[in-house]
Symmetry: C2
Subunit: 294 residues, 2 copies
């Protein structure tokens, strides 16, 4: 077999407009997974929503161009991106302090497939970052498609300083196998790994109340330990979450009295803690203070 070389990350032309837009956003978090269907979009949507409910200014950008699902999960299907007086693109407002951009807001029908090769996708992602009026944000959440291809690579190379990657997995081996690749991807691109979330971890039968580890259990935590990255927590599987996602209701919007929401809110505060600590460390490092206690 001919040797296959890894494409070295090119030094993209990070131009002024892009830098300006991104400089107004405090934290940029990319949500990744190796395998699809592990709940990456559900985590992105609920993380954005929870942060917005806590009073933060939040943007959510969907860079999964082939399977863009944030609009459906946020209950804003059918809305469109707008134009603005300065020539930029106006994102869709989900809450007064939660803005979202997705290719699904720009295509004529939800059946319409995006049959694009990589360069077209990179160009669309650039537009989403550079031309959208994100304004001043505390958080930009980037919902990525599964894998380590053009889309996450473009986002990570275009955004000057990605604050960190949240990696979502289910507990079974085949998902963990791919999640480990995401950790190595982040390391190769020098993006801090905020941690691993284990999703769909155990299922409690609504009929008898007994638990079955439908996708096994504990694999996410073991992988985190093994790779030396934080474990952010596990979210139990609950069929009501599937219903809520299909209805366009983020499950964290209903208060925190159920197990998945409680688990999720703990994950959110861990993410905020990570960013505040790493932010303080970075500021101290800028001032020449290294390894200072924070």
């Amino acid at each position: 077999m001919k040797p296959i070389q890894i494409t070295e990350p090119k030094e993209e032309d990070k131009d002024k407009e892009l830098k300006d837009r991104m400089s107004r956003i405090k934290h940029k978090i990319i949500v990744m997974s190796g395998k699809g269907g592990v709940g990456k979009t559900s985590v992105s949507v609920n993380l954005s929503y929870a942060l917005a409910q806590a009073g933060r200014e939040v943007g959510l950008v969907d860079i999964d161009l082939h399977g863009p699902n944030i609009a459906k999960m946020l209950g804003v299907e059918g809305k469109g991106l707008g134009g603005s007086s300065d020539g930029g693109i106006e994102p869709v407002r989900v809450l007064p302090n939660l803005k979202a951009t997705s290719i699904s807001f720009a295509i004529p029908s939800s059946d319409h497939p995006i049959i694009w090769r990589g360069p077209m996708k990179a160009s669309a992602i650039r537009q989403f970052l550079e031309e959208v009026n994100w304004g001043d944000l505390d958080f930009l959440i980037i919902d990525s498609p599964p894998g380590t291809g053009d889309e996450p690579l473009s986002a990570c190379q275009l955004i000057p300083n990605v604050s960190g990657a949240v990696i979502v997995t289910t507990p079974q081996d085949v998902a963990i196998l791919d999640a480990r690749k995401s950790v190595f991807f982040a390391r190769q691109l020098q993006i801090p790994v905020i941690g691993i979330i284990e999703n769909m971890s155990g299922f409690v039968c609504p009929h008898c109340g007994k638990e079955t580890a439908i996708f096994k259990k504990g694999g996410g935590e073991r992988a985190a330990k093994d790779l030396g990255v934080p474990f952010l927590g596990r979210i139990p599987f609950d069929p009501r979450l599937v219903e809520l996602a299909d209805e366009g209701t983020p499950f964290v919007s209903g208060g925190n009295d159920d197990a998945p929401s409680r688990a999720f809110m703990q994950i959110c505060s861990q993410i905020e803690d990570f960013l505040s600590v790493s932010g303080t460390k970075a500021r101290l490092a800028e001032k020449g203070v290294r390894d200072a206690p924070v």
Copy 2:
């Protein structure tokens, strides 16, 4: 927003070696899904294995370069592709009549992420089709990553006559939304849609025996009806299938005495029927006989 155009499928240079290799394969089936994690690889692996058990000569090519899981699910992790005297690539033999090729057979460690943009991926997929000694096959099963991007596009454009697409979905709306895109993708590339499989359809609690529609139920069948494509059947969710996949045992290898295997064998015969009818129709059409009863 600047208008975004769909990249028109280019007329690739389908050269002689590729054509020669592909002409020795009777049926080429691409297994696709819009959303990830719906069981596409599980379907590809079990379809290949079931056909091989039934005495067919089968090849399985994994074009999911970022999340290559067929080696793990077939229990042949750690094996490598070989060289052969004619300069081609020797696939991994899973059974005497089942050969497989995956990027995971060519990378140093399972943690190693493939951080490639589209053109590199297209080139690897071309090698998998053109340079692998597939020999004379009844079936080549193509396991595709989720979505409608570079990988399925390359495979469908490189292979002169793709016999058909099998589209896998779970029953919930967000998966169906994306599965519909796969149907439109196949139509746009003039590939017959063999049908839709509804996977993870209902979960029977091992403690109390009662069923819960964990990812809802019936969505795949409704979508098939709505889009006018065949519905191939539903495979119930069974946590033992997760265990078997992690252990590298195709679930159809254990006989057909459980519900998922029975469902799956019916799906396999429907696929064979579709191909035999469409093959007869194609041969009649070549002879100028149209709409003849077959």
